[in-house]
Every structure is written in C-alpha cells, then in structure tokens.
Amino acid sequence: MSEAVSHIDQIFVIFLHWLLGGLPAAARPAVSAIISVIAILVVFALLFAITTVLERKGLGRMQNRYGPNRVGPFGFFQPIADGVKSLTKEDIVPHGADQIVHFLAPVLLVIAAFLAYAVLPIGRNMVLVNLNAGVLYFFAVGSLVELAVFMAGWSSRNKYSLLGAMRAIAQMISYEVPLVLASVVILMAAGSLSTVSIVDMQARYSGVWPHWFLFRPWGFAGFILFMIAATAESNRSPFDLPEGESEIIAGYYIEYSGFKFALFFLGEYLGMFATSAMAITLFLGGWAAPFSFLTWIPSYLWFFAKLMVLIAVFIWIRGTLPRLRMDQLMNFAWQFMLPMTLINIFVAGVWHFMPSGLGRWVLCSVLLIAPCILLIGSLKQQKSTEVRKYRFAD
C-alpha cells in the first residue's frame, strides 16, 4: 500500500499521537485512554441515533407504509425529536418501587453495554485495550446485562414487569451458552483469545480470496448460530417476547419513563451493535477488506460497512418473522442450538486434522448439514397438529 493510503487508514491514530505530543510522558496513557473512550461513546451513540431512524423507516417500508417523515428531510432528524422528548418527559417512579435499585438498573445496563466495546478492533491498530483474554472479557461483560434486567424488573414492584424480567433472564441465559460455544470454534482455529490477533489472522489473502473464517464450513455454521444467539441475547424480534408490546405491555421496563427508558433503549441497541461487532471480528474478518484489490479503502470504513450490513439484516429479520413463543424459544435453544454448536466444535476438530482439499470440505459440510436437518425434524415433530376436538356442554 502506498504512503498516502496507509496515512488515511491510520489517520485517527496519527491524530491521537499528535494530540498527545504536547503532554508530558507521565500523563499520556491516561489522556489517551480518556480520548479513546470519548471517541467510542460519541461514535456509537451517534450510530444508535442513526439506527433508530433507519429501523423505523425500514420497518415502515417493509410494512408498506412510510416511517417517520415529518422531522427533517425524509424524517432523518427524528432522533433529535426523540432525544428532546425523552429528556423533557416527566420521570415517574412508582411509590412502592425500590428507589436505589430502580435508579441503578438502567445505569448498570448502559455501563455493561459500553464496557464491551473496549476489546473490539475498529480499524488497523485501533483497539482501545488489546487484552490477552479479550473474547472472554466480552462475554463476561455481556453477562452483567442479565443482572441489570433483573434489577429493572424486580424493583418496579409490578407483576408484569417481574414476569417480563424472569422471561428475559431465562431467555438470555439459555442463549448465552450457544453464543459462547459458537465462538469457541473460532478460538480453536485462531489459537488465541485476543481479538486483535483473531482479526490479524483473517486479514491475509490467498490470491484474491480472504482468509475470513466465514468461508469455512464450521465458520459459516458458527456465524449463523452466533447471529441467532445474538438476536436472542439482545431481545430482538423474533425473540422479543420479554418486551412483547402486545402481550405484557413493555416487559421489564414498564415503570420507566423519560430518560431512563431512553437508556434502556440505548442499552439494547448498544448490545446489538456490540454482538454484531464481535461477529464481524470473529467471523467476517474485522476491519479487513473482502478482496485483496480493495485494501486501499481504509480499515475503519470496512468495519462500519460490515456493521451496517449486519444491522440491516437485524432490521430485515425483525420486519419479517413473527415472534416465537416462550416454550418454542427454549426448545430451540436447548434442543437445536446447543447440539449444533457442539457438533460444530467437533467438525472444526475434524477439519484441522484432515489433509486440505476437497475431501474435508465435503465431509465437514455433510457432518454439519445432516444433524441440522435431523434436529429441525425433531423440533417440528413436537408440534402436534391434530384435528381440534370440540367439547360441548351436555
């Protein structure tokens, strides 16, 4: 790559070094950390604002209506209106609610959601902290969200809120296992828990084709399983029973209004972005370009392009699929996702020990597709579709 291209690629790193140049050496790590954290906060909060309006317009078009189109050109200033509304709305806290826990629940949720961005490499040399156990840190922080959900549901002293919180926690715990197991395959292949080294392994090219883990049978299956589990972890449709608007009003955040509700919304979307970004890091090559002749485009642009594609897929799925019932959801997690992730790990081991060539592609694909069909068949058999018997009073 030529000098100018690599300068554009590293422009934020160069800018940061220039900013730190005027400071004494003792203060540099702290100020660098603070600037990077502020950059992450600003960028992903802005992305959240853009996503809310994109989602509403996208869903609207899928449902054959316009989305918001009053505020600004084609309605794209809607987030500003939403922000003003949520800031100026009255903050009602129920009288019988547990005040401290009620206040801390959205705070903990947003903290947990933002902490996850610390290990995601957004561009070449652009990661906040290159932790040796980066992927483990990501999943550890993700498990804080469940506690925040419980705090929200219980502190409101509301039966529907508690019910929604219990359902949400059961769903999150059930889908956390396939989420972690689906990423174990990548950890086996990469031999490291550090996100930076996982992306560096995928940033190479053999000819034109990249070395993304998506282009292996076990990587492809792992990606699909990871995305399904990520959808369930962020409580997005079709797994949004805990916040089902038509069933239990709003689930665990019924009693929240104004800015705290906006914080819950923010936390949910940030969780979605974080798991999408982790999927990009693990499976889609992080900031690497898809073809070797496209590496002149800066790395952070590739990262955000892939992130927007995954967000568009999330919005598409939300507009298309109906909601899953609670028992269907749990059956899906424990009787399909968990066996598939374990078989995926086995197949990755088979791939590693077979000689390279067409043979291992065929064997691994068969070993993945056959159990998938069998497990889906066993899930379908549980649906009993008999002729309904009517009983009349004698």
């Binding site: 156990a133 498990s143 490291s192 828990l193």
Partner: protein, 166 residues
C-alpha cells in the same frame, strides 16, 4: 497498599458486610454481586486476567442470578423473616471474630513483610491452556464429571414431583 487496592478493598468489604447484614434478601444478593465485582477487580490487580474475567462470568453472571431466582421461588423477598439473626448470634459472631483474630495474628507475626516481592508477571491465556491440557488434565476431566453430576442433581432436586393420578 496503593490507592487502587484501598478503594477496591473498601468496596469489597462494604459489599460483604452489606450482604451479610441487610434485611431484604434481594438487596443482600445485589451487595454480594458488588463484592464479587470488587474481588474480580482485585484479581485483575494481581495480574490474573483470566481468573478475573471467569469470576465475573461465573459468579456475577450465573451464581448471583441463580440465588436471585431461588429467592423469588421461596418467597424470600416478601415481608421477611422476623428476626433475621438466629437466637445464638453472639456465639457465631464471637467465633468469626476469633477466626479473624487468629488469621490476622498469624499473618502479621510471620516474616512475610520482610520478603522481597517479585516483579509483576502477566499470566497469558496460552500457558493456562497448556497447563490444563498437560499437567492438570485429570482434575479437568474430574471437574467435567463433577459439573455434569451437579447439573443432573440440581435438576432432579428442583423438579416438580409428578402427580400420579389414580
């Protein structure tokens, strides 16, 4: 006795004391979660990154949630058991204070303070994995068996009894 250690230690001890003395059980579990998080931060201070993140993942993400679920299921979050301390609480506190006194005396009377402390070593994940697979493979497999047995046992214990209709 650096400042981060002091802050984390105070946080952990406050969480622990609150966990053992509050009346409402859910508040106890939330204070316990705070002390778990403080302990995880202390593990990170000591350079054991892997153990710190595993502590958050397992304790905060699973054990605390489990305790909370059981409190919900046993109606422990209701009006509360009056009184919260059992009738012979003085003996228990004296025993605990005695244990602390003995441990503190043993720590301060030893020559640990006069040792030269080695420099910080980072424990990377790869040596932990190597050790688990080579030197500690037997405990690892036994742990797998133990966890499976605990899983099955917990499910059987908490299962609804099937009502046999005559």
């Amino acid at each position: 006795m650096t400042v981060p250690f002091l802050i984390l230690a105070v946080l952990t001890v406050v969480g622990t004391v609150a966990a053992m003395t509050l009346r409402n059980l859910i508040h106890c579990v939330l204070a316990l979660t705070l002390s778990f998080a403080g302990l995880a931060a202390l593990y990170l201070q000591l350079g054991a990154q892997f153990v710190g993140f595993v502590q958050i993942l397992v304790y905060v993400g699973a054990v605390a949630i489990l305790a909370v679920f059981v409190i919900m299921m046993t109606r422990g979050a209701g009006p509360g058991l009056h009184p919260i301390f059992s009738s012979f609480w003085t003996v228990g506190s004296l025993v605990a204070a005695g244990v602390f006194a003995i441990l503190a005396w043993a720590i301060c009377a030893s020559n640990l303070s006069s040792r030269i402390l080695p420099p910080q070593t980072e424990a990377a994940v790869r040596p932990i994995g190597d050790a688990l697979m080579h030197q500690y493979v037997l405990p690892l497999e036994i742990m797998g068996l133990l966890l499976t047995a605990a899983l099955i046992g917990a499910v059987v214990l908490a299962m609804q009894e099937k009502r046999r209709t005559p």
